[in-house]
Amino acid sequence: MYLVLFILFGGLCVAGALNLLLQRHPINSALSLIVVMSSLAVLYLLLGAEFLAAAQVIVYSGAIMVLFTFVIMLLNAGSEERTHGSRAAYIVGIPGVAILVSLLAFIFLSARTHLAQARLGDYVVSTSDLSKVLFRDLLLPFEVTSILILIAILGAVALASKEH
């Protein structure tokens, strides 16, 4: 049962990612990415990360991807034209990616027995546990990230505002 769920949503992730790759219009890519993020949220649930699943949907799919969609709309991005850019990207990059994925898959699969087996409900992290660690042990990084977001907002406003 667990396995079925995993395969289903895992497959959905991969399918969404591939669609992002293959679509020409950026809005299609954005929507595929939303699919990926939602599937990832389910996978987080399967791994016992309740809070993160919620945050994933709210923050990532709900805010960030909406931002992307807005910008696509704002800039009226159309389908991609075919331009000849860089051959290095294809010649050097694609083999690099292939090496990357095959190597990583190989490592992980060969270490399969050393890693644990996930069972549903075996380790569920409640929000209160998470917040205890976050606001007690890691308070400083938390505050720093809030300042980071503040700066990011200021920067975005500064960059995107029209010049007079």
Binding site: G85, R87, A88, A89, V92, G93, G96, L100
Partner: protein
């Protein structure tokens, strides 16, 4: 500085060196008189020292060696020091070098009075004296080699003294290069000595040879032959003589000092000094004798047809040096040195007198433009005559005694023999002929130039001529052999040095010696007679003879085309190889090419790397992905190796 009862031998070479430094560094700004004073002073001082030593010679323990405490080369396996040796042989050489050298310095004051570069001339001359004295005083082959090389250098500088003349420059180079070939032999001989004896010191090498009477031939022959190669270069014998006629481009006093009296005799001195070595190799002695006799005859034939007065004397020098070599080859070492001494007197005299003639004629050197000068420059005439008589070997002049000693010893010697004696005898005839030819052409008959008015030279030049003439006349009287009633003092004087030669010539009889003496005098007179016939009594006959033996005459006038042969066989291929192989292929191709290839490859590499900086984000991303993959690979494999 150590040594038993020091005589300060080191001063003898060093004083002229000081003169060289003073004249060389400051001479340009000094007046000529001061330059001459310095040069003469630093040449007279060693002469005074040598005379002093000579006076007290009998009270010295010989051989007298002095050395410096500062070592020169001191390694675990080899040692060489600044050692000076005084024995009868080196005393004789010292007297000649300082004595004749001093006279020629005086002569030069007059001869070079109006020349540019006066200071340079005397600086080089003093430098030459320094090196020659080092050569003669050295106690080991290495220090002798320093002097050997140095006189070659001084010779180069002085031959090319008139450096604005192309021919002079070429002659200087030729002399130096040919000397270098000889020096190569000398160096190899020294290396062999070090290999076999572990030292180049006379005492050690000759002592080692003397201690082992069974050492014969073999490597000793090799060393001997290599030394002979060096000697043929320095003393202008076959095959390395071709530089000496060209060396006449230098000023005449230089020809007198270097190319007659001292430098060219260094080869003979070296052979006599190493006689212990040569005595163990009859083969080498035979080679020396053959070279000497052949050169003597060869040079005499070429000298017969020369028209330049200095060229005649140059070939005459080569021929007389051949006599000295013949004597060495016959193991008659004291005879060789005796001839060296008398030759120094009369050859220097002849050159200086020729210089006086040239000076008096304002630079004319061609004998065909001279004639009848005995009335206009009488002192030069009488002194030169003394020289001519001496070289022809007419009694009672010095040349007679020395030449006869050589010829008789050559006849007796197993390494030389009657054939070479005969060659020497024929050469006596030819020598007399060409010297008297020179005499008649220059001083007798009608004066053949028109615009010149010959004048006698200043007394600076005449005084040395007179002194040398007296020596040319009387210098041989110290060596009158027993056959003619003398006491053979010269040979006895040199006995301590050359006596224990393993090679002893068979004793001849006194009557045989007298017979041979008469023979050589007859030959000399015959030569005189023929010269008299062709050049005084019947002047036109010479030209008619020449017309009849045209081919032979051409051969002689062109010096047997030896220069051209050497040029084609050796010089031209060398030039070709250097120009095309060494310069063209190697230097321009490899070295320059290597440089530009290095630069080009850097540029190429740079161009390649430049492509990474394309400004294109995607290519950057591509390289990033590859880099990340590479890192991952390395980490994985590194990890798994360690695990």
């Amino acid at each position: 500085m150590n040594g038993h009862s020091p005589l300060h031998l080191w001063l003898i070479p060093v004083l002229p060196f000081v003169g060289f430094l003073l004249n060389g560094l400051l001479g340009r700004r000094l007046p000529n008189a001061l330059v001459s004073a310095i040069a003469l002073l630093f040449t007279a001082a060693p002469l005074a020292l040598v005379l002093n030593i000579a006076l007290h010679f009998s009270s010295l323990t010989l051989p007298h060696i002095e050395w410096f405490t500062t070592p020169w080369i001191a390694t675990a396996t080899f040692r060489a020091d600044f050692d000076f040796l005084l024995d009868p042989l080196s005393l004789v050489m010292l007297l000649i070098v300082t004595g004749v050298g001093f006279l020629i310095h005086i002569y030069s004051v007059g001869y070079m009075a109006h020349e540019e570069g006066y200071w340079r001339y005397f600086a080089y001359l003093n430098l030459f004296m320094f090196f020659m004295l080092t050569l003669v005083l050295a106690e080991n082959f290495l220090l002798m080699f320093v002097g050997w090389e140095g006189v070659g250098l001084a010779s180069y500088l002085l031959i090319g003294f008139y450096f604005q003349r192309e021919s002079a420059v070429e002659a200087g180079k030729k002399a130096f290069v040919l000397n270098r070939v000889g020096d190569f032999g000398f160096l190899l001989a020294m290396f062999l000595m070090i290999a076999h004896f572990g030292s180049v010191s006379y005492a050690r090498v000759f002592g080692a040879i003397a201690d082992h009477p069974q050492m014969q031939g073999g490597f000793l022959t090799a060393i001997a032959l290599l030394l002979v190669l060096g000697a043929t270069g320095k003393s202008a014998q076959i095959p390395l003589y071709v530089w000496l006629p060209d060396a006449m481009e230098g000023p005449t006093p230089v020809s007198a000092l270097i190319h007659a009296a001292t430098m060219v005799t260094a080869g003979v001195y070296m052979v006599v000094r190493s006689h212990v070595l040569f005595d163990r190799s009859p083969f080498a002695l035979g080679v020396i004798a053959i070279i000497g006799a052949a050169t003597a005859l060869f040079a005499a034939t070429v000298g017969m047809v020369q028209t330049d007065i200095k060229r005649v004397l140059a070939y005459s020098t080569i021929s007389q040096l051949g006599y000295m070599f013949l004597a060495c080859g016959a193991a008659a070492y004291s005879a060789a040195i005796f001839h060296l001494v008398t030759h120094a007197f009369f050859k220097a005299l002849l050159f200086l007198a020729a210089g006086s003639v040239i000076h008096g004629l304002g630079g004319q050197q061609d004998m065909r433009a001279m004639g009848g000068l005995r009335k206009t420059i009488p002192i030069t005439f009488w002194t030169m005559s003394a020289g001519v008589f001496a070289i022809a070997g007419l009694p009672p002049f010095s040349g007679f005694f020395s030449k006869d000693a050589i010829l008789y010893q050559a006849f007796l010697s197993p390494t030389a023999g009657p054939i070479l004696w005969f060659v020497g005898l024929v050469t006596v005839l030819l020598t007399a002929f060409y010297m008297f030819r020179l005499w008649y052409l220059t001083f007798f008959g009608e004066f053949r130039s028109h615009d010149v008015h010959p004048h006698e030279s200043p007394w600076w030049m005449l005084a040395p001529l007179v002194i040398l003439a007296i020596l040319a006349l009387s210098g041989g009287w110290i060596g009158i052999p027993q056959a003619l009633g003398g006491a053979d003092q010269f040979a006895k004087f040199l006995d301590p040095v050359v006596k224990d030669s393993a090679l002893v010539n068979p004793e001849g009889s006194l009557n045989q010696e007298r017979l041979f003496t008469v023979l050589s005098v007859v030959m000399a007179l015959t030569g005189w007679f023929v010269a008299d016939l062709l050049y005084r009594r019947k002047p036109g006959m010479a030209d008619r003879l020449v017309a009849r033996i045209g081919g032979l005459y051409a051969l002689l006038v062109n010096k047997y085309w030896i220069d051209q042969v050497y040029n084609a066989l050796i010089v031209a291929p060398l030039l070709f190889a250097s120009r095309y192989l060494l310069w063209g292929a190697f230097d321009r191709g490899l070295v320059n090419g290597g440089g530009s290839m290095a630069a080009g490859s850097v540029r190429g590499l740079g161009a390649l790397v430049q492509r990474v900086q394309s400004g294109n984000i995607r290519s950057y991303a591509g390289w990033l992905a590859l880099g990340a993959a590479a890192l991952l690979l390395i980490t994985y494999f590194g990890f798994s190796m360690h695990l």
